[in-house]
């Protein structure tokens, strides 16, 4: 069963996908001290792909994602757990935040940190789990 989506949605989907992904990365980096962070950013990114799925079809959505969503769950979890370890190597308690401020041209001071790595892990896990569910449901729908 294939429902033709409206032409407006299809046209908008092309533009909205990259915009929403950029917005989700903005939310991800904004987190920690201001509203934002890995979880909400992951939801926005997953919503972007889901919107793309509705405007196009499943194959297009999978292609836009590049990887299998299940890989994102595992990879993200590994990243999140690993982010606690650098502190232990320095003799501090696990999950102690470490900050590495770097001066970059144009951008000014950028703070790399272990919470950022943790947040990226969460981001990937959320995208992965939401899309695993959504894509599987969509495929089940298509088969029936």
């Amino acid at each position: 069963m294939k429902i033709e989506s409206s032409i407006i949605l299809r046209a908008a989907g092309h533009f909205l996908l990259p915009l929403l992904i950029i917005f989700s990365i903005f939310l991800l980096l904004r987190g920690h001290n201001e509203p934002g962070g890995g979880f909400i950013a992951g939801l926005v990114a997953a919503a972007a792909i889901a919107l793309y799925l509705f405007s196009m079809d499943i194959q297009a959505a999978r292609k836009a994602l590049y990887v299998d969503p299940r890989d994102l769950i595992g990879g993200g979890l590994v990243l999140a757990v690993l982010s606690g370890i650098p502190a232990a190597l320095q003799g501090k308690a696990f999950f102690t935040s470490l900050w590495w401020p770097v001066e970059l041209p144009l951008l000014g001071e950028v703070k790399f940190s272990t919470p950022l790595i943790f947040d990226i892990g969460v981001y990937l896990v959320v995208i992965g789990s939401v899309l695993t569910i959504v894509l599987n449901l969509a495929e089940a729908e298509e088969k029936s």
Partner: protein, 505 residues
């Protein structure tokens, strides 16, 4: 502060994440399963050694100071429990290699197993009550999924009872946490223990209410009377490896928390709580063992015996003399190993004969005499025959009861011991001794319920755990000393409080 403190939580988390990342490769997941639980066992041995030599270990996670941040604390009881988690986890992982069908591996058996172990280890090590709640939930999520893996009708039925009662218990737990936070303004266990003694007279009633709320919540988790019926309804439905780890560890988390809370935190009003605990313990023992007597399914009998054994541990806590607490701790150590092993044996019997029904089994002693021995060791230990581990565990508790003058409890404990022996002999007679019924010898478990033809990985963990049971019995003295030191720390929480919050000026 020692790094070894966080490892028992981090290792299973990492192993779980890795096996999710390798979800395509069954082989990789199996290796991660064995190596991950092996590493967990190793780290728990290191942790116990460090705790024994250097005293209570504390780690402020993320370097946020207590009582505001979350602390991981390992006193001797916590370290012992983590070691038992490691042992059970490793034995189960080996057993899973052959007993978990590919279909279940595909649906994430290994990641869930690691998640479950992480939840259990986290619950044993955390020093924060809300964090304890979180670990409970981690554990429950993993166990819900494990219990329905396979999706048979009986599993769904068991899982619904399991989920409903455990969610109810979690809700009680959470409300109690809210009230406790309202009264004391803190959820750090050491801080709570300290602040509860300063609560004004007018609010003592509220403290009692909170204490009872926690008691009911944890009694459900521990499957104590009268809220135990989720356990026999669900534990015989999943894969045996899952049953074994549930039987060994999950209810014992509830018991552990009871020990932690009602020695360290709510120790002022023992008149009320420990009287309830005493009756709860006795009735739990009795109902469990009587329920088992009526059963003729291998794993259901064992499930009911979990309940009756939980009663002994609660009894140890309820009598509340130093000796009784020692007995309770010793009992937990002995019980986890024995119970997990009995479930593993039942799985091997199923593998050989394709059924759990005692009526349809028989003649295994003739065909597999050694298996008879590996069954008898944990079974007789469970019943409390010397020189096995169960004898010393029961002996210490009953002796504590005699010294405290709790004659009724002593009588119940002795009768239940006898009935346990009856149950174990029943299994022995039906499964091993009596002549095999018609056609029983030809039957085998259908191939979709396991992997490969080798039985080595079935025997290996069974023999290992059985030898451990003998070892605890033969070398009871050092184990007893360990339990004694653990009980000593529980009854004098000053050391724990100072370790977490720093010495008082």
């Amino acid at each position: 502060m020692s790094v070894s403190l966080a490892l028992p939580v981090l290792i299973p988390l990492l192993a779980g994440a890795l096996s999710l990342a390798f979800w395509r490769s069954h082989l990789a997941q199996r290796w991660i399963g064995v190596i991950g639980t092996g590493a967990l066992l190793w780290s728990s041995i290191v942790l116990l050694k460090v705790t024994w030599q250097d005293g209570i270990q504390v780690m402020h996670m993320g370097s946020w100071a207590a009582p505001f941040g979350i602390v991981l604390v390992s006193d001797l009881l916590g370290a012992i429990m983590v070691l038992l988690t490691g042992i059970t986890g490793f034995a189960t992982a080996l057993y899973s290699l052959v007993s978990i069908p590919r279909e279940h591996e595909k649906f994430g058996y290994y990641p869930l197993l690691h998640l479950l172990l992480a939840g259990v280890a986290g619950a044993f090590l955390t020093g924060d009550i809300f964090n304890l709640y979180v670990w409970f939930e981690v554990m429950l999520v993993a166990s819900f999924a494990l219990i329905i893996l396979g999706g048979e009708r009986a599993q769904m039925e068991g899982a619904i009872k399991y989920v409903t009662l455990n969610l109810f218990s979690s809700a009680l737990f959470l409300s109690a946490i809210g009230l406790l936070y309202g009264v004391t303004g803190t959820l750090n266990m050491a801080d709570v223990a300290q602040k509860l003694s300063q609560v004004p007279e007018a609010e003592q009633g509220l403290v009692s209410v909170i204490s009872i709320l926690f008691l009911v919540a944890f009694a459900i988790k521990a499957a104590a009377f009268p809220l135990f019926f989720w356990l026999p309804a669900s534990y015989h439905t999943p894969q045996v490896a899952v049953s074994a780890i549930f039987a060994g560890l999950l209810t014992k988390v509830g018991v552990y928390v009871l020990f932690r809370f009602y020695t360290m935190i709510f120790a002022d009003d023992t008149e009320l709580t420990h009287t309830i605990l005493l009756w709860m313990g006795m009735l739990t023992m009795l109902t469990g063992v009587l329920g088992a007597a009526a059963q003729y399914e291998f794993r259901r009998i064992l499930s009911f015996h979990i309940i009756s054994q939980i009663g002994y541990m609660i009894l140890g806590l309820a009598i509340f003399t130093p000796l009784a607490i020692v007995g309770g701790v010793f009992y937990i150590m002995h019980h986890i190993i024995v119970k997990a092993n009995l479930f593993l044996v039942s799985g091997l019997v199923y593998r050989l004969r394709g059924t759990y029904e005692l009526k349809e089994l028989g003649g295994l002693y003739r065909s597999h005499p050694w298996l008879g021995l590996w069954f008898l060791i944990p079974a007789l230990s469970l019943a409390g025959l010397p020189p096995l581990s169960g004898f010393f565990a029961k002996f210490v508790i009953i002796r504590a009861g005699v010294e405290a003058g709790e004659w009724l409890a002593v009588a119940v404990a002795l009768i239940v011991g006898l009935l346990t022996l009856y149950s174990m002999i029943k299994i022995w007679n039906e499964v091993f001794w009596k002549a095999a019924p018609e056609g029983c010898e030809q039957r085998e478990a259908p191939p979709y319920t396991h992997q490969g033809n080798s039985l080595v990985m079935y025997y290996l963990p069974i023999i290992g755990l059985a030898l451990m049971t003998v070892l605890i019995g033969v070398a009871a003295q050092p184990i007893y000393e360990l339990a004694e030191a653990a009980a000593e720390q529980l009854l004098n929480p000053v050391g724990y409080i100072e370790a977490v919050l720093g010495a008082k000026p």
